[in-house]
Symmetry: C2
Subunit: 343 residues, 2 copies
DNA sequence: GTGAAAGCGCTAACAC
DNA sequence: GTGTTAGCGCTTTCAC
């Protein structure tokens, strides 16, 4: 830590050292073809010698070409669902030689606005955007106005009118309910999530349609909104239990909530699955680790990430078509959390 | 997606629009004092009007000042321990207005080298570095030679001679063994991790010293190395079970391995905790969710992240002192996975 | 308080 | 194949 910030070696110095012009050095470094093998060697030798480090910022400023960074905005890192998504995105992006600038909103619109600004100031090549609940179009428009490609993930913005990748929430919600009905449940609640989210609408719509298809009534009091956290699961399941006629099963907005609910059930001396059927959504690693193992609807976060990067990359490469949507089909993962005692 | 990349608004245009010089506009935007309130207002109005977006890259190129990005190199995102670490780092960095460039090595030295290069090319202000097992000093030196501050996390490099934050692995390992001994265990294995890691040495050293302090022999065949994954846990516990005289308890290098081991135990019809005592290391969220709840040594990933950012920030601000180390004391979290049937 | 001019490290024209 | 020149968008002297 003793040395002062040493002056950085510039391309000019490399060129001088190699006895060529700066242009030649630049071309050599970037592996352009029209450079003789001999000069290329010389330039590389000088680079090594002087300890040259390429300055992407400067290059980028001059070339106005696609920068090599991509902005990623997600709500939260403590939910494994987002982590899985991040892994998918990250892997794919690395393969393309792009680096990730990461921002987490914690589902706050204010933070989201700030993050968008920062990311924009970094002149990213594109943005993968998991919007905050109830987000207005404005942040999205700001990005689009600058001509920066965006792909929206999982939560769509009405009239967002841009590339989107997510899962079929309606089908997911519906298949969960169908499973519960097959298991003999007749009174089923929907727990957690907030109505500002397109994904919430999809999942509840599937829930309702599953109920109706089975000839069951929809009881509005059985749909309870709440944050997407473990703690929320505790609270929500207690509310449900306190109802005059509690349901025999609950479908949760996501696995985090489902696990929170199951933990509270255990705490109350009840057995999840036996005393109360539970289905989650996402299939995070915890789902298969918890006891009882959680029946859930898989939403393939890694694959979503992969698709998002592909769509974005095509845009960055200049694709100019109508907005595209990739909607993955969810899959019901049947495990142990749904066999009620009385059924 | 229809519009072509629109020409970006520059500071010059803002200045012209506001009827001031570019210098004045620049000073106004950065909130320097020697600008009258009236001009400041004018400039900001013009910014809004024209939809100006500050270009950090350009600013940075000219000023050679601290860039506003920090590089973060971690092994893997699928282990919640790293996620927690990332959360801690991220939160703290956001508060300082720094953005994160993220790289994951998957414990590969090759990937690590490539990542270091990329991050360096982005002219980061500093790097938080979780080195790969068996990493040589070379990547670290490359960074240091450029005068870029680094703080090492959890895994120290012998002679790294730079800022470091981690936990006291020796004490952690030792307290785990002491707990196991108190529970009546006399034959205890150490599972997983690789000997290229300073943290592995610390934990095994603690393990050995705990054994010796209790007057027990150290059986080298009970220390088995292995990758830090769930799958590795499966494999390792089977190896242990196949021994002529299996131990009654195992201390695992980390929680991931411990959980993998417990899952395999269940699969084999054995009850973790009852048939085999298990202690983990890290205290990831899964540890308290698994059944039986895992007794483990907490290593406070978020706090490590926070400390790392603080150390790094001070260096970025110009602190020029001898390398500093922050070593956090781990804490034994006693839960349910250690009461053997015969003890 | 404010302005004019120079230049950070690089690439893109265009010449040769 | 290689060199010359100009300039990306900003901050920084240094005048006034």
């Amino acid at each position: 830590m003793k040395q002062e910030k040493p002056k950085l070696v510039t391309l000019q110095e490399v060129a001088k050292h190699a006895g060529v012009s700066q242009t030649t050095a630049s071309l050599a470094i970037r592996g352009k073809l029209n450079i003789s093998e001999a000069t290329r060697q010389k330039v590389f030798a000088s680079m090594q010698n002087l300890g040259y480090v390429y300055d992407r910022g400067a290059a980028n400023l001059r070339s106005k070409g696609a920068s090599s960074t991509v902005g990623l905005i997600i709500p939260d890192l403590s939910n494994p669902f987002y982590t899985e998504l991040l892994i998918g995105i990250h892997q794919e992006l690395n393969q393309l030689g792009q680096t990730v600038i990461l921002g987490t909103t914690f589902d706050s619109a204010t933070v989201q606005d700030r993050l968008v600004s920062t990311i924009l100031e970094h002149r990213v090549a594109g943005i993968i955007f998991f919007v905050v609940p109830g987000s207005r179009r404005e942040p999205l428009d700001r990005i689009r106005r600058l001509g920066i490609p965006v792909v929206l993930i999982n939560r769509n913005l009405s009239e967002g009118h841009c590339d989107y990748v997510g899962i079929d929430n309606v089908t997911g919600g519906r298949s969960a309910v169908e499973h519960l009905v097959r298991k003999g449940h007749r009174r089923i609640a929907f727990l957690g999530g907030v109505s500002q989210l397109s994904s919430w609408h999809g999942r509840t719509e599937g829930y309702v349609s599953g109920l109706l298809a089975a000839g069951l009534d929809v009881d509005e009091s059985l749909i309870i909104e709440g944050p997407m956290t473990r703690e929320s699961g505790h609270v929500l399941i207690e509310k449900i239990l306190a109802l005059p006629t509690p349901p025999t099963a609950v479908l949760c907005y996501n696995d985090i909530i489902a696990i929170g609910a199951m933990m509270k059930l255990k705490e109350l001396g009840l057995t999840p699955g036996y005393d109360m059927g539970i289905v989650g959504f996402d299939d995070i690693p915890e789902a298969s680790i918890f006891s009882p193992r959680l029946t859930t609807v898989s939403s393939f976060p890694r694959r979503i990430g992969t698709h998002a990067v592909r769509l974005l990359h095509e845009r960055i490469e200049g694709l100019d078509s109508e907005p595209r949507s990739v909607v993955l089909q969810p899959e019901l993962i049947v495990r142990e959390s749904c066999s009620h005692k009385n059924l």
